[in-house]
Subunit: 241 residues, 2 copies
DNA sequence: ACCTCTCATTCAAACGAATGATTAAATCAA
DNA sequence: TTGATTTAATCATTCGTTTGAATGAGAGGT
């Protein structure tokens, strides 16, 4: 039973398990081992993302999850095992974010591909810069990106590679250039970098802009404008060749 | 004396001080207290930047610097004190990187301002993405950016604020828009983000591009093209208002 | 209904190792 | 000698992990 008094009721700790167990055999939710697992992953995502893997202690994670320290070893083997589980959770939840962009039949015209890309930028901005529920996911993902010894391999295969590949396809169709060319792949990375930086540099940007929190509106306007400008430039460059 | 056998001879530890001391009273270099300070800062920059502040232990830092653990406390008070000294070193060395962009009289035409910005992009790409000597500086700076409890305040005042302000001035002059407008400040952040991402996402990008190391040439081409396209778009947007 | 057994889960407590920091002695040029 | 600097050794603390005992719910026998 948790007795830590100082805690913002942010992600709401594990459900009170004093009441009667409604049925652990039914499946996975409510209070029970699965709830502990989920709470530990949520706490791990938050603390790993917020302070980094090394700086987040197992005791702090367990306290935030309302669980015992030994639960980490029991459910995930070790702290590193929890990290892997967090990475898988990120990949799982992130698979749906770009659904709007990748969904449906392939675009039939450059204009349609461009609209898909614009929708993708808007979705990513909303997810990465603003969405409060996704803040922990984004923070964790970006932490792991800089840590070669971490879960990078797994995240690369499950998140980076497929998303980047799809964006390159759209970019190539919108500009009439080769989706696999070096230029296209770099351009897409640059576009993504523009967006991601607003999460990484968040404290700096908020200070410099005089904001209390990220404003998705102005961000979308600027980034879509840059996207269109870059697409035009790439189209012209492609024709010049 | 360090006895750690496994160490790539990367930044070459402090100079061998077995020989006669040539003269510590002369000033600051050679072997002596200043050399220890410098070696500790260099080791701190590398390890803080590479593994993060929490994950880098004082013993590892001292070993890499060829110094005793107690030297950190003696010269900097504490591990956090060394971190601050590293931040100041970054600010000091970074002040010269953008010299080419900010040097000389203010540009007298939009075209000249644009050329300054292009030169700035090239300098930043060379520094951030490629320069091996500056790898530790860039890694440290970007680590601290994500750590609100770190040296962010100091780095904001000494690095971010002045550089970003100067870039906004140039952007405003190149596009004929207000340098202090929200649009301009966000656009400059987006441009910087494009560049910085190639350092942050370095492991991912190298893998996806099939590179062994960053290629400054293609990066410059893409980023300058994006810069020009964004400047054109901002100019048009400014006139439309 | 009652008891017992079984198994999965949670718990407080403790483990050894590593951490940041500190000490007092040793070192060395002036 | 003097004062600054470096050193090995040790400090208390915190770390990730492990342990063995509680806890509680279902199964099966009586």
């Amino acid at each position: 039973m948790p007795r830590d008094p100082d805690k913002t009721s942010a992600p709401k700790n594990r459900a009170d398990r004093t009441g009667p167990n409604t049925g652990p055999s039914t499946g996975r939710d409510e209070a029970g081992p699965e709830a502990t697992r989920a709470a530990l992953i949520a706490a791990g995502l938050h603390l790993f993302g917020h302070k980094g893997f090394a700086a987040a202690s197992t005791r702090e994670i367990a306290a935030r999850a309302g669980a015992n320290v030994a639960a980490i070893g029991y459910h995930f083997g070790s702290k590193a095992g929890l990290r892997l589980a967090c990475a898988d959770e990120v990949a799982r939840r992130l698979a749906g974010v770009m659904a709007r962009v990748e969904a449906g039949s392939p675009p039939r015209s450059p204009q349609e591909a461009r609209q898909r890309l614009q929708a993708g930028v808007r979705a990513m901005v909303a997810f990465i810069a603003a969405a409060p529920e996704a803040a922990d996911l984004a923070a964790f993902l970006l932490r792991e990106m800089t840590d070669e010894a971490g879960t990078l391999d797994r995240l690369y295969d499950s998140v980076v590679s497929p998303r980047h590949g799809e964006l390159c396809r759209l970019w190539g169709q919108a500009t009439g250039t080769d989706p696999d060319s070096e230029d296209t792949r770099l351009s897409v990375f640059a576009m993504i970098g523009q967006i991601i930086y607003f999460r990484i540099g968040r404290p700096i940007i908020l200070r410099r802009m005089g904001w209390r929190q990220m404003q998705a509106g102005p961000l979308c306007d600027i980034l879509v404008r840059h996207l269109n400008a870059a697409l035009d430039a790439a189209t012209a460059e492609g024709k010049a060749k």
